[in-house]
Symmetry: C3
Subunit: 135 residues, 3 copies
């Protein structure tokens, strides 16, 4: 299985990073199959959303509202404010995603992008593993 680990800089603010081009490039010339995208971090996830039209900021806002950032709310309460809820987020925004590929092309819809969701402010460097399983 071809598999590669990519480094992503997400900085010290909550971010949604569009990684579609990276995954798309990885799949070029691979024919048909499934691409697996996996984030090997306990405080980040993957979402397939539209980017550039406000929905990325909307998602960060929704995460803040669904999972409050203040320490007192969570047992896991070390690190910067938000670290406890960052550890709960991957249960809802999974670190694992598969996307069908045909003739080396991701079968995403027109408005879909693959994004790395990283609310964590303490870890500016992230990795994403991309793997291809021929079908």
């Amino acid at each position: 299985m071809d598999s590669e680990l990519f480094e992503i800089e997400t900085g010290d603010q909550p971010t949604i990073t569009d990684i579609t081009a990276l995954v798309e490039h990885f799949c070029t010339d691979r024919g048909d199959g499934l691409v697996s995208v996996f984030v090997p971090h306990a405080t980040a996830g993957l979402a397939v959303i539209e980017t550039g039209a406000g929905s990325d900021q909307d998602l960060l806002k929704a995460i803040d509202q669904l999972l409050p950032t203040h320490h007192a709310h969570w047992r896991h309460d070390h690190g910067s404010p938000g670290h406890g809820r960052d550890h709960v987020m991957p249960a809802l925004v999974s670190p694992s995603l598969t996307v069908p590929v045909i003739d080396g092309r991701l079968q995403l819809g027109t408005w879909q992008s693959i994004t790395l969701v990283d609310p964590n402010v303490d870890n500016p460097h992230r990795s994403v593993r991309v793997s291809f399983v021929p079908g």
Copy 2:
């Protein structure tokens, strides 16, 4: 990889559509492997839930409560009320799903159905891609 795009009519109301039979039929006679179900839309997702006993309506209610429909809440604020939150939903209810298949049969539990979750009232026609990777 065998892969097919199916058209689903979801109408102009928020809906949960049971697509188990469609996926099951696609897998018949294919032996063992993984079936990938993928929705190429930025305002729909897939959920594996029980249908016909109230949980489908319960899920639509939960989505309304977790992600409010009113425009003022979201940056992405064009379209019908709810469009902004519809674009956030796929981060929580993913458009991608894989299910193990053995001897051409989906390995779902007794009460599990594969459903297309479409809160979007502006897009009555949807597609679902079903792909089979032999194991």
Copy 3:
């Protein structure tokens, strides 16, 4: 495709059960590929989170807050309190997960564990299907 159903005892309280060792053992000596973990139950899901540092209890708390347990809230209202919302949970905490495997080893991050999330108090015995697709 090699696939096996494992029995897990989750008892009569809401639980997060770490099943990483089980999945890891299943993948040993299998080379490269994708492992599929699938829970054939309509009231349980899978989450990749850190365990043993409070985040497991934090996740159960978050589920209680996002999806209230009282019957009156839900149409699906038989069984013990919480049963209705237990049926909604798998839309957010999916019963399906894939993880890349290289040289027989799960490519999880240092703090990631694969967990079975079972808020259901009425069903103490659960199954988890683990399947390996060579890449």
